[in-house]
Amino acid sequence: MITEEIKQEIIKELGIENLSDQKATEVMEKLEENIQRSLVLEILDLLNPQNQKELNALIETGDNSKIQAFLEDKIPGLQSLIDAVAKSAIKEFKDLTK
């Protein structure tokens, strides 16, 4: 849950401050969803078929800590990837809405 302060900062950064509060919230939710989808695709792109099978098995167990450990092992710099995907999606959004 993001605070109101952070929300306003994000709205300003995205350049959607001229939209109504409801519309801005909708845009943020949709963009957040798009970034998550994009990140999932990037992660899958980095895993070979064997690793993807192992990941599927872990996902079926529902053990998030094991999934985390597995991905951190297979994808060095996972946190950097998350940052890069998020920043890239925001930049794309800002460029297209200029």
């Binding site: 952070i6 949709k30 970034i35 989808r37 990140l39 999932v40 899958l44 890239s88 959004f93």
Partner: protein, 182 residues
């Protein structure tokens, strides 16, 4: 003899009156819309739709269950109440290491405590080797000839060595004064 080409072969209806217009012409918009600048709201919607379409295309070849599982993991483990938007906009609050996730919090404190105990055990069983003993001895000895800091910011003129027999007098500011200056 060269015949003059006929301009209109439809002698019965030279003006084309009563004829049905072609299908293409029928489908043309009645009024030509003037090209107007998109509103900010329209721009935003177009951008999001475009992103959505690109992602949907890429997702087509992926296993839906895996993607759903990964998104769930993202929300629970990675973001833990944070937001990808906040990360992307550099709007994240600096992390103090604290997390609202009680289980994660306890785990962090446990790990920290384990590290402290491990370090204490190592220090308890530590036995200095001959080199370490020698270095420690040298350091102790060197401390004897260390200049004493009198707080004045000035070192002793005789190479920084405090001589026990030297009488030292201090001025009102604490500065060491030469007997001739007094």
């Amino acid at each position: 003899m060269i015949e003059k080409p006929e301009e209109n072969l439809n002698f019965e209806n030279p003006e084309g009156e009563g004829q049905e217009p072609l299908e293409v012409i029928k489908n043309l918009p009645q009024e030509v819309e003037a090209r107007v600048e998109k509103t900010p709201e329209e721009k935003v919607e177009t951008t999001l739709e475009r992103q959505d379409a690109q992602l949907s295309f890429r997702e087509n070849s992926r296993d839906k269950q895996t993607m759903s599982g990964l998104r769930k993991w993202l929300g629970v483990s990675v973001l833990a109440g944070s937001s990808m938007l906040a990360i992307g906009c550099n709007a994240e609050k600096p992390s103090s290491g604290f997390t609202d996730n009680a289980q994660q919090n306890v785990q962090q404190r446990l790990n920290q405590k384990r590290q402290e105990i491990k370090h204490m055990k190592e220090m308890k069983n530590y036995k200095p080797g001959p080199e370490a003993t020698q270095t420690a001895k040298e350091m102790e000895e060197s401390q004897i000839v260390q200049p004493i800091n009198d707080g004045s910011g000035f070192s002793d003129q005789d190479g920084g060595v405090q001589r026990p027999d030297k009488s030292v007098e201090q001025g009102p500011t604490g500065r060491v004064m030469n007997p001739e200056d007094l």
